[in-house]
Amino acid sequence: MTRTSTLRWLPLLSAAAILGACQTTPKPATEAPKTSEAASPADSASGAGSVQPVRRPAPVTGTPLPGTVQDFVINVSDRVFFDVDQYDVREDAAVILERQAAWLKRYPAVQVRIEGNADERGTREYNIALGSRRASAVRDYLVGLGVSPSRISTVSFGKERPIDPGADDEAFRRNRNAHTAIVSGAR
């Protein structure tokens, strides 16, 4: 069980804030801070009664302010993933895009850029085209959920901007993605 105070996550949160605008964000869904568990009381095992128990300080929890880039990255998730050579929006991606659309409607000043990415198991120019398809599929999905197309631009980085340096299936899975980068308008 984790005894880590959420305070320890704060540097990571600010790192996420910096990284929010680029494509090297760590896995948002799995690495988001967990709600801190109640600190277990200090060991008060029976024994010499002369020792006074010292109360562990109460945890301080941190959470991004609503409408910030890190709010979007951590609480909404800024990246969706695709199957090999595919660009259709999967069910797990649809859930995230619905959250993205709701957030974007809540903060109408925000402009985003959808960056399509491909894994390295394809050639350079084909992957530029494939990344474009992915970015466009995400844009269309967000527009279908009511986000104005004028707020969304797209670009493809092909296989040139991986987020995982590995050369295994897990790395390839992560590198097949579309990243929703906030360009402007966040609080």
């Binding site: 530029i128 085209a129 340096p165 590995g166 050369a167 980068a181």
Partner: protein, 429 residues
């Protein structure tokens, strides 16, 4: 009966199915440098006499040796005066079937190189020439001599007086810096053309060797540029609605073909560089990209997944008449037509590996030349004999490699830093 050195080599080439004789269609070839029946021709290139004579001999020797068709023999410190007939017995005893000797003079501030090529067994002179240039141009003179020797002994044009533009890759696997660079074909004189503030991809030479086109990629989008190597002048092809990528010059330099993406769909366009009018060549909901002109300018080979997976198609340069030419197992991308028109080289992905292969423009006689974790992006030497491509091991950095069109001579290119997307220039005039 004893054959001359030249006849011997040509005989070898014919036996290998190289001189225009179609090779039989083959299944996957296991690539092994040591396999195959070409015995490289042993030749000796002693230091030329005079200033820079040793350097010039070394550049020639490296060029010819790298081709895989010649085996330079250490002359053991021996030299051969260019003014008298060599003592053939000495060179034969070293095992040399051919001898190249030369002499460098500075005449009125000009570099003057006299050289002769000899068949040591027949005791005959095969070539006797004088090349003149500026002294600082000595490497280029050495490349020209290499081309003259190659042509005399193989009957085909050489490719040594040429350059390569490529994407230099540095900085690890995440956030790599990708910038354009150019070098001589032997790796000498490398220099950067862009500063790395943007991702530079897909450089290609014009027929003049003085201009390149490439794609620049930034978060805000992509641009296709024309870059004049002599003047450094850079010019954009203009604004497009979506991504614009994969540019190539037409053989006459008057047009650039490229891919344009709109709403996720990539099609092939061509721009007339004189009047700047663009025209769409394909109109298909599939990905169409990586166009390459035939050397006569009448056809374009390109990559499309209109049939369900990426395959190669040939169409008229005016658009239309597209027909599929790749039918093997796997995915075919990045086609490029050989300068002599005989072959189309490509990248093929099958069985979890990437391969460089060649086929006839009608799709027949497909042959696989290489195989690795990632072989990609072939480009032809100006004589259509050798291909340069990038190879990346799993988790590694890409490097440039060469393979000859038979697949027998596979070597790392003489440039040992991270590099991809090479494009070979035509012979420099």
């Amino acid at each position: 009966m004893r054959m001359s050195a030249a006849a011997l080599l040509i005989a070898c080439l014919v036996l290998a199915g190289l001189s225009g004789v179609p090779a039989p269609a083959r299944a996957e070839i296991e690539v092994d440098v040591n396999r195959g029946d070409i015995r490289p021709l042993p030749l000796s290139i002693p230091d030329f006499s005079g200033d820079r004579g040793g350097d010039i001999a070394r550049v020639i020797s490296d060029n010819l040796g790298r081709s895989g068709l010649f085996a330079p023999i250490d002359s053991g410190g021996r030299t051969a005066e260019v003014s008298t007939e060599p003592d053939f017995a000495v060179w034969k005893s070293l095992g040399a079937q051919a001898l190249l000797n030369g002499q460098v003079n500075l005449v009125d501030g000009r570099l003057q190189v006299d050289f002769r090529l000899w068949d040591t067994f027949a005791g005959q002179q095969l070539l006797g020439l004088q090349f003149t240039s500026t002294p600082e141009n000595w490497r280029r003179v050495a490349h020209k001599i290499s081309d003259a020797v190659y042509e005399r002994l193989t009957g085909e044009k050489g490719y040594f007086d040429s350059r390569v533009v490529f994407v230099s890759e540095s900085g690890g696997r995440l956030n790599r810096t990708l910038r354009l660079a150019v070098m001589d074909q032997d790796g000498a004189n490398p220099s950067y053309l862009t500063d790395g503030s943007e991702i530079a991809l897909s450089p290609r030479f014009s027929a003049s060797s003085q201009e390149i086109t490439y794609m620049s990629l930034r978060p805000s989008g992509s641009t296709v540029y024309l870059l004049n190597l002599e003047t450094g002048r850079r010019e954009s092809l203009g604004q497009f609605q979506g991504m614009v990528f994969a540019p190539r010059f037409s053989p006459d330099g008057a047009q650039v073909a490229f891919a344009v993406e709109r709403n996720g769909n990539s099609d092939i366009w061509v721009m007339n560089l004189v009047n700047r009018q663009s025209r769409r060549l394909t109109s298909d909901p599939a990905i169409d990209t990586s166009p390459a002109f035939s050397p006569d300018g009448s056809k374009v080979v390109f990559n499309s997944d209109r049939g369900g997976s990426p395959q190669l198609y040939v169409m008229d340069a005016s658009g239309g008449g597209a027909r599929r030419i790749s039918f093997g197992e796997g995915r075919y991308t990045s086609p490029v037509w050989s300068p002599n028109g005989d072959h189309i080289a490509f990248t093929r992905q099958s069985g979890g590996k990437f391969h460089i292969g060649v086929m006839r423009p009608d799709g027949s006689d497909e042959r696989t030349l290489t195989s690795s974790y990632m072989d990609e992006g072939p480009t032809w030497a100006p004589n259509s004999r050798v291909l340069l491509f990038s190879r990346q091991e799993a988790g590694g950095e890409p490097r440039l490699w060469t393979v000859d069109v038979t697949g027998r001579i596979l070597k790392p290119a003489p440039y040992s830093s991270g590099a991809s997307d090479p494009a070979w220039s035509p012979l420099i005039n």
